[in-house]
Homo-oligomer: 206 residues x 2
Amino acid sequence: MSAAQDSGTGELITLPAEAQDQLFREARTANTFTAEPVTDAQVRAIYELVKFGPTSMNQQPLRVVLVRSQEARDKLVPLMTGRNQEKTAKAPLVAILGADLDFHDELPKLVPFMENPRAIYENPAVREESARFNTAIQIGYFILGVRAAGLAAGPMIGFDRAGVDKEFFADGRHSALCVVNIGRPGPDAWMGRLPRLAYEEVVTSV
Amino acid sequence: MSAAQDSGTGELITLPAEAQDQLFREARTANTFTAEPVTDAQVRAIYELVKFGPTSMNQQPLRVVLVRSQEARDKLVPLMTGRNQEKTAKAPLVAILGADLDFHDELPKLVPFMENPRAIYENPAVREESARFNTAIQIGYFILGVRAAGLAAGPMIGFDRAGVDKEFFADGRHSALCVVNIGRPGPDAWMGRLPRLAYEEVVTSV
């Protein structure tokens, strides 16, 4: 019996049960990885899939820095918090997911039917909030995209944000929101599944 | 030839091509819907799937209000901006997606292995930022969950946030981040696909 049949509600989900398992039910946040490399072609394939996820006014503020060189890894690891240091030191690929706080510069080509869309986000506070919100939504898509590629993601928010921004986004117009380890799960990659809130605790009707 | 084969990178994505299409490539933000109702059982099935998406420290701050009654709909519609009013008036189901800004009250049961996890988020500013970030990630999961149920989502951020919070989250501990219309796409449900940023514009290596 698949997990979908087990839940009693899976038949209302038309996505094939195996796909549901791969993205949600059987996928887990990985803390250890095998040594198998994650290629640029795999990252490109993930991006070419998740880029279609919707964002407000087609903003697409997510930017990704792949930490490929040993020099860059050596700069990142000490900026991670506690046990994230070891995970980040050993993962086959580490990606920094950040928000382009000046995403509005790209809007004329992203919403070509609008006249001067850039003007909507002239206010830096409004722009930054929107960049953070939509980048976070895209981080959700990205994590599922990693899983869609048959890989495991280990997203982390425990790091020195000012330090990471300074080292990896020196232009001052980006903000790192999440660091993600990516690879195939290694030995003892995760602990037991943590509890989820019940439907009734999350969803109400009025 | 499927869209996956067409892209030249789809074979690196192990999720079946049809599932990729359903969630990302062929799915679109809908602006019109048929009259077919969206049932509570469908919403429950969506939640039971997307609840497994990871959040920081298993926070799960997303809360969902289903606007079921005509009275509630009549309160919400005038709080929507411009053309969102008509879309929201006509959609079979409207859901308000909000952040529980006091999510830390639930942490003792969500991370049972930690001693006093609530204390980590005693600072209201830190807690609110984390609630907004993780709720946005969960909104990404939720939108894909709607699509996994064979339905279309129409997420909107154009609404009077203070007004929606006052009407629908009167306890003062929640913040509405997004309103989503849900149903089967109706006539002329969307315009042409808008451009996406190229891989090279989003992903860099260091």
